[in-house]
């Protein structure tokens, strides 16, 4: 544990300021999954909606210290429809987007969105539809997913799997966007663990920005 935190401290104090963000990720939007009557999955006695909000708030404060603007789609424990989330994401001019969830396993999952049609098959209306916003960022989102997964795997030792699913919060995002599911099993989500996950995700974001 000590070695883990020491690694983070070296990264945040030395490496991060030296390597300025190459991708200009000024505005980061974080989307804590679920909320209100939608609990998500359970992890021990904790609920997904609480864990995701707590980690998102910790991650927000890290990123703010680094001078980035950070918005959360929800700041409190309330239900937020997918449509409301998409509206908030669209209004935020995000340079980078991450939706936070828990997987129903001991592994972490990282998703990018999936489209049935290629751009060539779209009508003009479909091309400019809110759900098409992610199309031009699919490659970058995959790169982002790989780097975040690397950070989670390296710094936390969890197995990370990657996939594509039709996820509306990602489809509506005009920036690199991933949905991260942290493991719900085999992890005790106390304050320290959540801080560690927030750090690992922060490292992933910074590493992506530096590439």
């Amino acid at each position: 544990m000590r070695r883990f935190f020491a690694g983070f401290i070296v990264f945040f104090l030395v490496l991060m300021p030296v390597t300025a963000l190459a991708r200009g990720l000024d505005t980061v939007v974080l989307d804590p999954g679920h909320g209100g009557y939608d609990f998500g999955v359970n992890s021990g006695d904790s609920r997904e909606k609480e864990i995701t909000l707590s980690i998102a708030k910790k991650l927000k404060s890290f990123l703010r210290e680094e001078g980035r603007k950070v918005f959360l789609t929800r700041e409190v424990d309330r239900y937020l429809s997918l449509a409301d989330r998409r509206d908030r994401i669209a209004a935020s001019s995000a340079d980078l987007f991450m939706s936070l969830h828990l997987s129903d396993s001991e592994s972490a999952m990282i998703y990018v969105t999936w489209y049935k049609e290629t751009e060539a098959d779209l009508s003009l209306g479909e091309y400019y539809d809110i759900d098409s916003r992610q199309r031009r960022y699919l490659y970058e989102s995959r790169v982002f997913a790989g780097i975040v997964g690397e950070a989670l795997g390296t710094e936390f030792g969890v197995t990370v799997y990657y996939g594509e699913l039709p996820l509306p919060v990602l489809s509506a995002t005009g920036a690199p966007a991933v949905l991260v599911e942290l493991p719900s099993r085999g992890v005790d989500y106390n304050a320290e663990t959540m801080l560690r996950f927030a750090y690992a995700l922060g490292i992933g974001m910074q590493a992506y920005g530096q590439q």
Binding site: G33, D38, S103, K116, G146, Y162, E164, L165, P168
Partner: protein, 194 residues
């Protein structure tokens, strides 16, 4: 969970490949099932009564862990298209007999099935189908895909499926995937391997 490399070095789920195999198998099974049925009977309207009686086998696709698992179920031969849809959905809601963690929501009931425009079959389910669902994104996807595959395999003349909860359109079941459009596009994920 098994996975493999996809285009651009991004990994894709092997279960997706398994779905496709299952789906192809399901289509083939459905084809032979209906060929068998139609060869014996004259063409008929969607709700024209057919003599009930003998049992028939349907294939139901259940979400189990990170895959879909097909199970054969014996049901009384449905006398109509909508009866066939009801029988299929009711078997789906019973959950799998195969060992492994499944997440078909407990206590969910079928409230009705309706023929819509353009071949869309509306499946109206009780609120337990949403309320008792505790899954991650892949689980939600597999549940929807399992229901969709089960219906399209066993019910003739269905172009797409739309889920209603308590007679109303519902945005999402588990907070990850949208139900605002019929399921076909959402669950028809096809991935090309390297």
């Amino acid at each position: 969970m098994d996975n493999s490399k996809g285009p651009g070095g991004f990994r894709i789920f092997m279960p997706t490949v398994v779905f496709l195999v299952l789906f192809a198998g399901g289509i083939a099974a459905g084809y032979f099932f209906f060929m068998k049925t139609t060869q014996k009977k004259a063409p008929e309207g969607p709700e024209t009564a057919r003599p009930a009686g003998a049992a028939t086998t349907i294939q139901v696709y259940f979400p189990i862990e990170d895959r879909l698992q097909a199970e054969d179920r014996q049901v009384p031969r449905p006398p109509s298209k909508l009866a066939s849809a009801r029988a299929t959905v009711e078997e789906f809601l019973k959950g799998p007999k195969t060992a492994g963690d499944s997440y078909v929501p407990e206590g969910a009931r079928l409230l009705g099935v309706y023929d819509g425009e353009d071949g869309i079959l509306y499946i109206d389910l009780s609120d337990e189908f949403r309320r008792n669902l505790k899954v991650d994104a892949l689980g939600e996807f597999l549940l929807l895909r399992g229901l969709y595959e089960s219906v399209l395999t066993n019910v003739y003349g269905v172009a797409d499926v739309k889920i209603l909860i308590e007679r109303a359109e519902t945005e999402t079941l588990g907070g990850h995937i949208s139900l605002m459009r019929p399921l076909g596009e959402t669950v028809s994920q096809t991935l090309v391997e390297e």
